[in-house]
Amino acid sequence: MPGILKSLLKNKAFLLMVLPGAAWFIIFAYLPMFGTIIAFKDFRIHPGGFFKSVYESDWVGFKNFEFLFSTDDAYIITRNTILYNVGLIALGLVLAVTLAVVMNELLNKRLAKMYQTAMFMPYFLSWVIISYFVFSFLNVEKGVFNQILAYFGADPVSWYNETKYWPYFLILLGLWKSAGYGSVVYLAAIAGIDKSLYEAAMIDGASKWQQIKSITLPQLKPLMIILTVLNLGGIFRSDFGLFYQVTRDSGALYPVTNVIDTFVYRGLTIMGDMGMSTAAGLYQSFVGLILVLTANWAVRKIEKDYAVF
């Protein structure tokens, strides 16, 4: 015991530095983790505060989970969350790498810089702002899309009530918002590739395409794997703003826009079912944790250096 005490005393300057941050993590991250036990309780708010409420609520075992998985909702939100994320991760990777490789080859570097600045713009805007952008295109009476349809003599479409278009809209918007952000990291990596590799390839008479295929892409592979593993860990999480704000919380669209995050939010704010919402959130976090550990384990098996941790 005195040994630990001595070590703590010796490090007291560092400990004082981490103290405020550690307190924040305990209150805002670890206390909620402890709070997930209400997923196994029939949660009732007790006037005595947080701990009293958690303590006094009755245990119900897996009732909340049974209730969650007994409806269609669990299947729909899981399917939507995974499919959108798989689409966004796969297409996002292809788009980011393609943009980076092509922008790197553009002869006019000034122009490339300008493009980069423009493509970064959506990343800096909130989904609320973007929902207004989308509205200017999809509004039934005044929107651009219906004006174009009218020009060609077609009937107007009530975009915010038609489920069939939204999977494409949401994927496109997700890609659009993060393309600039995604390509920047790969551009930086390309800039770091040893130039002598390309010189050697050129002496051997390799064409530009062969250089990209045999040098640039293989050199980018570790970064692609690392970022994809990190993204896979988040496959059970969605960008709440994209699915809630951009769709204007339109009830008609729920079958294709309801994801785990929006389901939990509505469970909390509209239904007020704390137990079931917590259960859904815990399901999300737990499966997410297993996925990221599995993905990392798999990568470590294949190539140790590529693992994230």
Partner: protein
């Protein structure tokens, strides 16, 4: 950047480099034109919507009702901005809330992130592994929305306070990773060692030596944080009811479906007649423009720091 290079294994054996050519063979002019046009089109799509919103906000409300949203309006008008100047008290109030939250939040973020990251970047801090894990585990697992909500409302009792907009977002593990990597790569151990020999305390070293040479890293985190607070609407959606505490982005959500919120809260003299003739659509868009303008104007200057942060953040230790 140096780190990124290290993390990429140098696969093929590099040939002994001969005379370094400046241009290592570009693509053909035809392909260059094709690619320039294609990427240019995409880049245009990234800025066009914002320009379009500006145009709509400058359109005459009646022309808008007849023509719909149009790139070249038949009649321009400044009516929307004039209305906001006269009776935009709610807008001004929300603007104030957003600025206040952004400033306080960013200062607190910088304090928490830099101290925490610095401590765990120092190899002679005996408990660094424990505190690193304490931070990074939160990236892998979280309690989720509802328990967090209960902690905020039942334990901290912060519902409908300014702190509800600030505290949940002042720290996250990603900022700490970026900052720790920055400290570990840019602050030479030799400087710290020599300061120690001169008898400086750990706090003295941190404030007088480490912070001044780490300003680019601090700037990166400061910008991430500023952007996060400026664009935040989720905390207000969960915790705020009072119109006095509604930030800009959340105000934009409230007016999505009706403008009453702005009118009833703006000025008592606004009668129902005036409410009926409100330039609603253009006022909405004008508010979107005013909420976005600071970011849109500032970001080209700060882009460098963002890119730096993103690049550092994607590098593993």
């Amino acid at each position: 950047m140096a780190d990124l290079r290290e993390s990429i294994p140098q696969g093929a054996a590099a040939m002994p480099s001969r005379r370094r050519k400046r241009d290592i063979g570009g693509i053909s002019p035809l392909w260059n034109a094709v690619f320039s046009a294609a990427i240019g089109l995409f880049a245009l799509s990234c800025v066009f919507p914002f320009l379009f919103i500006i145009i709509i906000s400058l359109t005459d409300e009646k022309a808008l009702a007849i023509d719909g949203f149009s790139i070249i309006p038949s009649k321009f008008s400044l009516e929307a901005y004039r209305f906001l100047m006269q009776s935009g008290q709610q807008m001004l109030q929300s603007f104030g809330v957003t600025v206040l939250v952004t400033v306080i939040g960013t200062i607190l973020t910088l304090y928490l992130v830099s101290t925490y990251a610095y401590a765990i970047s120092r190899k002679n801090f005996a408990q660094r592994r424990f505190f690193s894990f304490l931070a990074f585990f939160t990236m892998l697992f979280s309690g989720g929305l509802v328990p967090g909500y209960i902690v905020m409302t039942q334990f901290l009792h912060l519902r409908d306070t300014l702190w509800a907009l600030i505290l949940p977002s002042i720290l996250n593990a990603f900022y700490i990773i970026v900052m720790r990597t920055f400290f570990a790569t840019t602050v030479p151990d030799a400087i710290i060692e020599s300061a120690k020999i001169d008898g400086a305390s750990e706090f003295g070293i941190y404030t007088r030596i480490v912070l001044p040479i780490s300003l680019p890293g601090i700037a990166t985190i400061g910008l991430f944080s500023t952007l996060g607070f400026w664009n935040d609407w989720f905390n207000a959606l969960l915790y705020i009811d009072s119109p006095n505490l509604i930030p800009l982005q959340t105000l934009l959500i409230r007016i999505q479906n009706n403008m009453d919120f702005v009118v009833t809260n703006s000025s008592k003299v606004v009668s129902y007649d005036i409410a009926a003739t409100l330039p609603t659509e253009t006022v909405r868009m004008a508010m979107v423009v005013l909420a976005t303008l600071p970011i849109a104007l500032a970001y080209p200057f700060f882009q460098k720091y963002f890119i730096q942060g993103l690049t550092i953040g994607s590098v593993k230790e």
